[in-house]
Subunit: 239 residues, 2 copies
DNA sequence: GTCCGTCAAGAGCAGTGCTCTCGTTTCTCT
DNA sequence: AGAGAAACGAGAGCACTGCTCTTGACGGAC
């Protein structure tokens, strides 16, 4: 992001940014499969082979867009969480849920690129994972703090996690320190439930059935909050 | 499926089946984006233009594969449900969950085609919806029967559904007769949670974190069963 | 037995990702 | 400051895609 020393480096950074910008616009219109290096080049008044000076392949351009997408989503989630009172754990969870959904509704194709079918033959490089977990980190922190504050209700209806889950729980705990296995298990349920719902809504599984998805989504996420053991919201339901 | 009257009709049906078979094999290897009409034609010893006598466009071939996919998934779910004692509602739910997951793990690309990002520019024709809801119908019947038998526990931790959800609930009730709004809402949560989990597992969101997905999945689905109000399984946890 | 509809084949169009070469420009090192 | 190296844009070209159109042959119905 810093202005490069030489003029060449500055123009290179500028052109790289322009390529990704145009690519992101194309992605928003035609989806990942419709992203064409030649079309990007055409729109830039360049010849197609010149693009390869900046991105060695189409997949590399896609990777840049993916990392960018994870970052903007992560930022949105971080912002939503930061806007809530620290001790309103339920409100923070609901804010994260709405941030994810709003972000997805605003850029359906980008969401599909991140959380839909992986593009065939494409292997996500390691660079993506650090960006990919930004929202997960926020989520983990909420649960971690809620647990530490003793704000999490006992499991309630949920059965206890099997002993063989301990290994996976330990790995998840890296973003959710101090949380017992049972809560980790419920956390995975709620997290996959959030994205499962958004995917259903975006990919058309709710078509002609759920006509007021905003209402249903809010309620569904409050159900997940209850399953997580988060306290019932004191104020009238968020949104 | 009936043997057509004329020889021409029979050979046409035969060739159509061969095309979809080869296409499904290609789909399993390269994914939806890698499905090529020309490659199918090549494998059949045909010229590419001849395929268009049978499928007017690539999208139509894809549609045939999608409908086929929904049907095999629906059948698997129906079979799994039918194998359980009628009154073991929790067992039937868990059987449906495992049927969905097993089907998806066996054909990841086909699952991605059905429940992942919709292929860009592709609009699912109405023919698909009847096939698409086969599994949902089974799911609805389980909850409907469980509710009719009085086997569903009260909402427990879940907050009551908002009044504005009534319209959507009525539409969902078409596959879930007699079930009150609260249960309908929880049903949507569990259903999207099931597919959200499978998508996370298949699309790599659990990579390097959940290493024993089978165990975690079983527990997650038992959590959903509890949220649905299904009775705790009497026998040791299914699978 | 004719005749119309169906069929496979082939050429061709517009588009794609990607590679290679060829001058030119720009930076860097002496 | 000048020589060598690195980066760059342009262009041609390869192999591939979906799809269209035309041509000629075959098969079933009247």
């Amino acid at each position: 992001m810093n202005a490069g020393r030489t003029a060449r480096e500055r123009v290179r950074a500028e052109l790289t940014r322009e390529i990704t910008d145009i690519a992101r616009r194309q992605l928003a219109v035609d989806g990942a499969a419709g992203l064409s290096l030649r079309a990007v080049a055409r729109e830039m008044g360049m010849v197609s082979s010149a693009i390869y000076r900046y991105f060695p392949s189409r997949d590399d351009l896609l990777t840049a867009l993916i990392i960018d997408g994870y970052n903007t989503a992560g930022e949105a989630v971080e912002r939503a969480d930061a806007a809530c009172p620290r001790s309103d754990y339920t409100g923070r969870w609901l804010a994260v849920c709405h941030a994810v959904r709003d972000w997805a509704l605003a850029r359906p194709h980008e969401y599909a690129l991140l959380y839909g079918s992986p593009v065939p033959g494409y292997q996500a490089p390691m660079d993506t994972v650090t960006a990919a977990v930004r929202d997960t980190v926020v989520y983990g922190r909420i649960l971690s703090e809620a647990h530490a504050a003793g704000a999490l209700n006992p499991p309630g209806v949920c059965p206890p996690a099997p002993a063989s889950f301990a290994g996976d729980a330990a790995r998840v705990r890296e973003v959710m320190p101090g949380v017992p296995d049972d809560v980790v298990a419920r956390a995975l349920v709620a997290w996959s439930g959030l994205f499962g719902w958004v995917s259903f809504e975006l990919f058309g599984q709710f078509n002609a059935v759920v006509l007021d998805p905003a209402t249903a989504f809010g309620h569904a996420m409050r159900c997940h909050a209850a399953l997580l053991g988060l306290p019932a919201p004191a104020a009238p339901p968020h949104r």
